[in-house]
């Protein structure tokens, strides 16, 4: 099936530093998402992004978070500065239609972020 890639697979960073998580979505998809999964908990929606804009964000999407997809390259999640509670697995997803019954979100394998 369609593949979403995420780079890096693991990242260890000191608290207060900046980190950028990269996502290579399915090539013809237009809608992009980030989800966060803290160890032992369920995956939770962070943000979705379309046409260069954030469409919706959850309360987990703190002011320190930002997303962009400059010129059709990687879809990125930037955290600046990082905090201990940002340690989690971050999943990127993409979809073609952005909703409706037929739409399906395709996920990457996740980036495991550890903030020390």
């Amino acid at each position: 099936g369609p593949k979403v890639l995420q780079i890096p697979s693991h990242q260890i960073i000191d608290m207060g530093q900046m980190v950028t998580l990269n996502c290579d979505p399915v090539s013809n998809h237009l809608y992009f998402y980030w989800y966060k999964q803290i160890l032992g908990q369920q995956m939770e929606f962070l943000v979705n992004f379309y046409n260069g804009k954030v469409m919706e964000k959850s309360k987990l999407f703190k002011d320190q978070f930002s997303v962009e997809r400059p010129d059709g390259s990687y879809f990125t999640l930037k955290i600046q500065p990082t905090a201990l509670e940002d340690s989690a697995v971050y999943f990127c997803a993409s979809s073609l239609l952005g909703g409706g019954i037929q739409d399906t979100q395709y996920f990457g394998p996740g980036t495991r972020l550890l903030v020390l």
Binding site: K3, G99, G100, Y106, F107
Partner: protein, 115 residues
């Protein structure tokens, strides 16, 4: 808000026997899309099944699920479990109308199929 509950963290079944993974939900939306995602070790979650029609059985790769709005359930079943079915399974839902397309996930159930 919406919620999805998967009551079992781990289900262990012997190869060849039937398996059922439970999923119940709460939502205020009238039109909902439901999904089962499967995640094999070190891989991405991938869609296994999806449905939005009440009381209609959906099948894929030997698994099946039926959305029952009367009981708010979307359980996943297979008649004969295979060793290769061992994985983490997530139930998820999202509204199927309007601009809100965020998925709400359950906590996941690890399925372990033993010889």
């Amino acid at each position: 808000g919406d919620s999805v509950t998967q009551t079992e963290g781990l289900v262990t079944v012997t190869e060849g026997l039937p398996v059922k993974l439970n999923c119940t939900y709460q939502t205020t939306y009238l039109t909902i899309a439901f999904f089962w995602y499967v995640q094999y070790l070190n891989e991405a979650p991938q869609v296994l099944l999806k449905s939005s029609t009440d009381n209609k059985r959906t099948e894929h790769q030997g698994f099946h699920a039926t959305l029952h709005k009367s009981s708010s359930s979307f359980h996943l079943q297979k008649s004969s479990a295979q060793l290769s079915d061992s994985a983490l399974y997530y139930c998820a839902l999202r509204p199927a109308t309007g601009g809100n397309n965020k998925l709400t996930f359950g906590q996941g159930t690890v399925l372990s199929v033993i010889p």
